[in-house]
């Protein structure tokens, strides 16, 4: 038994409405999971159930092999689970200063010296006596993180902790979190809307949609074969296009006929079109389209990428263009190259 967390058939309802259904996954020591999904998909509820802040309607949660929650019952109170949670709103104590926030959680685990050491590590040693209302948003985020780590938890839960920060601060916080976690075997479960947070911090992802777990796999696997429309959307893998199967290898879409992996079933399909797949082609190939607008995107190199938003019979698609002469209002021909992955959902 080398699992820190095992969630089996977990379900929750609020006022009779199911918000989480049949969630199953496990996590080992030091593992980092990202939980992705649109708003209202049950991500926060999942964290609250794992923390023991509410009892599940169905299923079981075990921490380090010991059942801690099962249907309508919290078997082990939150204070005994060795679980820390960084809340979305941070939930810092308004009546305590920066040091006391951390010392609160460090009681019995090194106390004030441990709190001071953590405060130094997050770069706020000089702000020890600052009351909460004098701390900036970034400083509060750091303190919330340090408070959680001061508990020396086996399991660190984070509920969209960087949501209120700008991109630069988010990147800083991710670096800080990585450095704080690297010497520990703490398992991380990160609920996020941000694809960057997930790509940067997690090695495994769980995708929820309307309370159902639609993907749970290694990050690499989900990136290459998302399988479900929610997973593709959550990780921003490309555009979703509707189509109808013509054979087990081809489908008709508004943007022309596209290739499919072998074994496609007949009927309506949802297909993933990755960013590089659509392109401008010369007559007679492709379908006729109108460029609605042009967008600019930065690339890793100095080059600026140009993206044309094209319309075909009322459907929009984004296409990378190299030809600098095209402009909005031009008529072009486009085609989707390569195989498009079939998505569920």
């Amino acid at each position: 038994m080398n699992e820190i967390l095992r969630v089996t058939g977990l379900g929750q309802t609020y006022h009779g409405v199911p918000v989480l259904q049949d969630v199953d996954f496990s996590a080992g020591p030091g593992e980092r999971l990202a939980v992705l999904g649109p708003s209202g998909s049950g991500k926060t509820t999942l964290l609250r159930l794992i923390a023991g802040l509410e009892a599940p309607r169905r299923g079981e949660i075990a921490i380090a092999g010991r059942p801690v929650s099962r249907a309508s019952e919290v078997l082990l109170a939150p204070e005994h689970r060795e679980v820390a949670l960084v809340f979305q709103g941070l939930a810092l104590f308004p009546h305590l200063n920066a040091l006391d926030q951390i010392a609160f959680a460090a009681r019995g685990r090194g106390g004030i010296p441990q709190a001071k050491s953590l405060l130094e590590r997050i770069g706020l040693g000089h702000r020890a006596n600052a009351p909460l209302d004098q701390l900036s948003g970034g400083e509060r985020q750091r303190i919330a993180l340090a408070r959680a780590l001061a508990q020396e938890p086996r399991l660190l839960l984070m509920d969209e902790p960087f949501a209120s920060l700008d991109d630069e601060k988010r990147a800083e916080m991710r670096d800080l979190l990585r450095s704080l976690l690297e010497k520990h075997e703490t398992t991380l479960i990160l609920v996020t809307h941000s694809r960057e947070d997930a790509l940067d911090l997690a090695r495994r992802v769980i995708v929820l949609e309307r309370g159902q777990q639609v993907a749970c796999d290694a990050l690499e696997t989900v990136l290459t074969r998302p399988g479900h429309i929610a997973a593709a959307r959550a990780l921003g893998l490309g555009q979703i296009v509707e189509g109808a199967a013509l054979s087990d290898r081809t489908a008709q879409t508004p943007f022309g006929i596209v290739n499919l992996p072998a074994g496609a079933k007949p009927g309506r399909l949802r297909l993933l079109v990755r960013p590089g797949q659509p392109s401008l082609v010369l007559e007679p190939a492709g379908v006729d389209a109108e460029i609605v607008s042009l967008e600019l995107r930065p690339s890793d190199a100095r080059e600026i990428l140009r993206v044309a938003v094209v319309r075909v019979a009322g459907n929009l698609l984004r296409v990378f263009v190299r030809d600098r002469s095209v402009s909005a209002g031009d008529r072009v021909r486009i085609a989707i190259q390569g195989e498009c992955e079939i998505l569920e959902g």
Binding site: A77, E79, H80, L85, F87, A91, F93, R107
Partner: protein, 553 residues
Amino acid sequence: MKRLPEILAVIAVTFAVAVVFSPLAATLTRAGAHSLAEVFHGLGATLAGSTATALASAFVALLLGAPLAILVERSGRRTRFLCSALGLAVLMVPPYIVAESSIVLFGPAGKISRPVAALLGFGPHSTNPFEIARFAAPGFVYSRAAVGIVMGGCLFPIVALAVASAFRRTDLRVFESARLAQGRRGVLQVAAHVLVPPALGAALLVFAVTLTEFAVPQLLRVRTIGEAVYEQIQEGELATAAALGLPLLPVVVAAGALGAFILARSRIASLSVLEGEVPKYIDRGIGLKANAPAAIMTLVAVIPGLIVPFTSLTWLVTAAKLPQTSAIGTHKLLRAAGFMPSLRGAWELAHDDALRTILLAGFGATLATTFAIILVRLTSRLRWRPVLGILGAGLAVPAALVGLGLIILWDHGWGAAIYQGLPVVLLAWFARFLPVAIFLTQGALARVPHELESAAALAGRKPFERLISVVLPNATPGLVAAWLAMYVLSATEFSATLLIAPPGSPLLAPSVVNLMRRGQEPEIAACQFLLLAVIALPLIPLAISRLARKGIS
């Protein structure tokens, strides 16, 4: 052990219900034997008059409170603080002092009304119809309208608090977008939607409170059901007295419940202004244009509740002279003239009563707030909060019925130990005001974000530790407001206390009201100052701690 919280919650709720409703239950039991038709004969006009008085009071409170809140909320920081402090100070002046002051200044022989009448040429030989009317009638100050003005003038902060809370909780950008969309008409529509329901809800509460008021109508010689109840009690007709108090009950309960419902619907169920709630976004006006109207409106609003009583009392204390020593009840009046001698006289006259009141009201408020914390914690853990709503009905029980109920309950055999001592006074105060302490405590605890407790739980704190280390420190302003409300209401309570206060242990409020009936003497006015000082006493440590905190930060 698992069911322990449930068992404790049941005990706490039962205790609270028993304390609040047992006097009413006792009254109802006693009244049951009576023929109601016989008892109510001739009281229809009194009941209608009481209702009209209460309506006038609610109207005055609306008229003063709503514009005051809007203007003050839109003013600058310092003006807002000063105006809010002045407005809230009105709540600390007992209405019966305001009523007596109105008589002193504006009565038939009033210190202002008499010279003004002389200045205008009115005199004994005047042919002016106004003058004739003034001498023929007891004067405007002895009328239902005057009761309405006094009560509305004392209770308008309830409306102001509700409107201010609604104003603070509203993102003022909604007004801006309404203005962009439809101009001033749009602003008025949004304002009506946001501010009218809390204003009306609070006005209904004022209506209910005025209906149960006894002292002010009595001082202003307006007959109410409460007075009829007292007369019957004095004649020893407890059953008749009990029956007389009942017709008021459904009206008060209905008005109070409707007001509370409207307030709850508008999410203004708590006194957030008292607790220093920080608004999300408020575009405050700056400069004279915003501050002057707020200051003027505040001065106008506090005329009945602050300026009239303080002018009258200061006038009496400094200017009046007592010609000779006289004995008044158990209190002996001393010869005095001038401010300091009058205060000294009042101190000698009533310092025992004052100290007794401070200790008992302080003890009662501490006990009530502590019990309220326990009750609210237990019930909210078990999601039994609606149960506490029932206690709200206790606020509608008129003081006369509370006093009468306690007499019926405790004035015999085994209850004598309680009835003959100060515990019965505590019971009366709890029966009348425990729901206030509970609701304010509930609001204070509910305002502590639940996530803070969750964070403390995950940091290893057990429920009691969470209460002590996280919940109470963050709920302190609200809990102080609850304590203060309980203390002020208890220290100034007169109607029920008068009936059940044990002989030999007089309390300040009934003593002062009894003295007030005897005449306009400097010591009596100074005694009213003493009562105001007793009420304001807890503000001193609060102000010191606030200043100390400011100094530290």
